[in-house]
């Protein structure tokens, strides 16, 4: 493997010191040979343009501060390096720093990876190298240069440094975690789409957790492509490792999380917030469309989905039990890609199985009428049903409002254009001006209407839709309880049967059968007990959950309505401004 040792020159190193500086091209040639010939290397290095000489170490030091180019460190540095110095004038000192700065662009890659490497070096290398971490310190380079000058020592440096690039490929992700402080408080850019980033920011306040979903990106091409989202978490909850960080997740990851949570928690009576639905049409459009052709329709779809994912994450995280769930934590924290939740695909065997299950359950729901002894549940079930129906109706009228307002925005825009044309045709000058103003004012109102339509949609309509889905999650939980009841009933019936069987056996005097029957009776007694417990437990849990759910629901609803009204009010105020500016213009018509 080729290795280039390039020492960043200090100001004290004048190009004049290197009589062979001008022999740059020739000097590089020998370097093309495989490295470990340290002294030869260093001599040549020294003889070549000091500005071009850099150790990978200092290369790496410059990168965090200078460049954040995510190039592969291992792609042939030599030719690249040989090229970089040449364009510069080897002679002038200012260029030294320039080339120092530029080198990393071409040669250096995967900056955080390499930059983290040197940390290990100081342990192994000499102190000078450690100092080389900071670009500002000339001593490091000087020392390296000195050490290179002393050709014997050059061996040490070079041989020390030689193995390093080979160690570069050591898993970067691991390194990323360890020295977050190395990068200081500056942001690192995203290296690759699958890695996370670390931010060393603190956050205070009461126990809280807030998740934002952003930066939807299309990864890959064609049918195998998918959308990835950046999930940023801010929290001060203790069992999370950091206070503020991001990971990249794809859509199926979210669905996978939901499924796992449902599997684990539904039967304990928890209400699991539903995840956004899969949409075949929207997804296919995204997959097959190119980035440039992203029309407003698919952008809308992406935005909708992003907002829905954000709401989903926040709802799930406010639930203390779900928040502590290891799957949830892994989802939110793990920096690497999650294992593909293949079972979320609609066409997989698991998907088909789920579908069948769901059909079975629906039938069950319809046919089994539970003997409700608990008044509370009776009332709540009723209420949930009517709430569901009413919310659906409300949602429909909200969607109508959104559509009409969007239409209003469009027709206002058309009118603005027509008025502009009219104003240009009008020969009376002040009337023409006024008409032009009218056109502009209408243009502005159009923007306001459009923004309001978006608010209508995202604040009002989408939230209501979420609630409809939440209600069906609640219904699912209620149904779980019904199922538990069923199990209990079934157990009781079986117990009765077994007791009967035992009594019969006793009458018939069949002692062996009696023994067996006795065992079965005991077994089923146990089952009855357990299922009763289970039933009561789930009933209690649901009651608690519902309390919390109610509180949350009421609060959410109020917040939503208040926000919406505020938006409406802002729109109106903006409209006021528009017309206020127009009136003097109209009055000015002579």
């Amino acid at each position: 493997m080729r290795l280039y040792l390039i020492v960043s020159a200090s100001p004290s190193l004048c190009p004049g010191d290197n009589p062979q500086a001008t022999h740059l091209p020739r000097a590089w040639a020998p370097l093309a040979r495989p490295p470990p010939h340290g002294s030869r290397l260093t001599a040549d290095l020294f003889s070549t343009n000091p500005g071009a000489l850099k150790s990978p170490v200092s290369e790496q030091t410059t990168t965090p501060e200078d460049q954040r180019s995510p190039e592969d460190p291992l792609t042939p540095p030599p030719p690249a390096a040989s090229l970089t110095p040449e364009p510069h004038n080897p002679g002038t000192p200012p260029d030294l720093f320039e080339s120092v700065a530029e080198g990393p662009v071409v040669v250096q890659g995967g900056s955080p990876k390499l930059s983290s490497v040197p940390l290990d070096l100081p342990a192994g290398g000499n102190g000078g190298e450690g100092k080389q971490q900071e670009q500002e310190e000339p001593q490091g380079p000087v020392e390296a240069a000195l050490s290179i000058e002393g050709e014997g020592e050059g061996d040490v440096t070079s041989s020390d440094l030689i193995p390093d690039p080979s160690s570069n490929p050591v898993p970067p992700p691991a390194l990323l975690h360890d020295p977050p402080n190395f990068l200081g408080d500056t942001d690192t850019t995203e290296v690759s789409l699958d890695d996370g980033k670390t931010k060393a920011e603190g956050d205070g306040g009461d126990e809280f957790i807030q998740i934002t979903v952003s930066d939807p990106q299309k990864i890959g091409d064609g049918m195998s492509s998918y959308m990835a989202y950046k999930v940023t978490t801010k929290t001060n909850v203790s069992y999370f490792r950091k206070k503020h960080w991001s990971v990249m997740r794809r859509f199926s990851d979210f669905l996978g999380l939901h499924r796992k949570l449902v599997e684990k928690h539904l039967h304990s009576g928890r209400v699991i917030p539903p995840a956004p639905e899969k949409s075949a049409i929207g997804t296919t459009k995204i997959k097959l469309g190119s980035d440039k052709n992203a029309d407003s329709g698919s952008l809308d779809f992406i935005e909708r989905r992003r907002a829905a994912l954000e709401r989903y994450m926040n709802r799930t995280s406010t639930h203390p039990t779900l928040r502590a769930d290891p799957d949830f934590r892994e989802f939110v924290e793990l920096d690497a890609e999650l294992p593909r939740a293949t079972q979320t695909s609609a066409l997989s065997s698991a998907g088909v199985l789920r579908l069948l299950n769901r059909v079975g359950e629906t039938v069950n729901k319809m046919t089994f009428k539970m003997d409700e002894s608990d008044q509370w549940f009776e009332e709540r079930t009723q209420q949930i049903e009517s709430l569901d129906a009413q919310l659906r109706k409300l949602h429909a009228s909200m969607e109508r409002l959104v559509n009409y307002r969007r239409e209003l925005a469009l027709s206002t825009a058309a009118f603005a254009k027509a008025t502009a044309v009219l104003s240009s045709v009008e020969e009376h000058s002040s009337l023409s001006r006024a008409l032009h103003q009218l056109s502009e004012s209408t243009e502005r109102t159009q923007t306001i209407h459009h923004a309001q339509a978006d608010a209508d949609f995202y604040v009002l309509s989408e939230n209501t839709k979420d609630y409809i889905q939440l209600i069906s999650a609640v219904k699912d939980v209620f149904h779980e309880r019904v199922k538990t009841f069923q199990t209990w009933q079934h157990a009781q019936i079986t117990l009765a049967k077994k007791r009967e069987a035992k009594a019969k056996a006793e009458l018939a005097g069949r002692m062996d059968k009696v023994q067996q029957a006795q065992e079965e009776v005991t077994e089923w007694e146990g089952k009855v007990e357990r299922s009763q417990e289970e039933f009561e437990r789930i009933s209690r849990a649901i009651k608690k959950e519902m309390e919390q759910f109610d509180v949350m629901r009421v609060k959410d609803f109020r917040d939503m309505v208040i926000k919406y009204l505020e938006d409406l009010m802002t729109s109106q105020q903006q409209i006021i401004k528009v017309w206020e500016t127009f009136i003097p213009e109209a009055k000015a018509i002579s």
Partner: protein
Amino acid sequence: MAPILFQDGMEDVLPSETNGTKSGRSDTVDLNDSTLQVDISDALSEREKVKFTVHTKTTLPDYAKPEFSVVRQHEEFIWLHDRFDENEDYAGYIIPPPPPRPDFDASREKLQKLGEGEGSMTKEEFSKMKQELEAEYLATFKKTVAMHEVFLTRLAQHTVFRNDHNFKVFLEYEQDLSVRTKNKKEKVEGLFKSFNKSTDEILLAATQKDVDDYFEREKTFLLEYHMAIKDATTKADKMTQAHKSVADSYIQLSSGLSQLGTIEGPRLEKFINKVADTFEKARKVEGRVSSDEDLKLSDTLRYYVRDGSAAKDLLYRRLRCLANYEQANKNLDRARAKNKDVHAPVDVADAELAQQNACEKFEHISNKAKEELNDLKARRVTAFKKNLIELAELELKHAKAQAQLLKSCLQSLPEE
């Protein structure tokens, strides 16, 4: 549809159309230079037609009584307009555009749809929407009355038109004018006539060179302007429609919310009811915005589309006259040439006479036309100014009202 009696009260629509009278004044309806005052005091809407009660007050000697009323229908207005249009004496004037046919189809359709969907909404919602539709119907009705009235007032104020015999008949004759709507044959004839006219127009426009630069310019301007303003009118209409739909959808939102309130129970009920109430009020304001936009903006634009059309007609007539004049000239020359030897002065005299008539006519028209066009311009500017100001002020008022409404709602809400 039950008959709706119309009482006076459309003054706010009138002024916009009747400003800029012949005497150049731009202040409003007070027809004080009038010894002839015409208005529509009453109107009745029956199944298919609307009956207008035309009321006249006059001090002119020609009229039998100083004050009287007759009942007229839309077709009779059109008849009157046609009489003016055909009259060659008026060729140099812009004939006030006829009022459009009263059209309640849209409202009727909506009412029907509402009736069909009655099952899917609550009683409250249904009655609210019905109220809205009825208000809409009423508004359309008022508008059509106003337009008919404007037509008449313009005629009454015009120094030449007001003395027209047909006008007098229209105002006075107590019986039905027995203007039957054109039967099929006449309709087809009418179609042909207008077709001819438009081809002639195009032909003339292409071939006839106007001697007067002013008129050339006017023609081009009017054509362009006409297209632009027609476009603006359609777009304005669409916009006001959309606005109305937004306002109407608030109704469903409001009632949906109140129902939700009853289900939710005490915790949220008060909150929700306040919000539902706010939406209801907001809806009314939005509705007003829509109708005001319609009135001030769309109607103004629409009226000037029609007026512009009438001006175009004037120009056309003038051009035709010019063509005739040039033709007469040619005839005269030809006659003179033909009759040079034979000295048959009759032909020549005829041709001369014809040429002279044509010349006079043309000059007359040209002068009048110039006046009329300038007048139109002035009228248009003032009308636009007035309506734009009023539009802006109304929009401002409504926006402020809505903002206030929402603010007070928000303030009263956070009561846990």
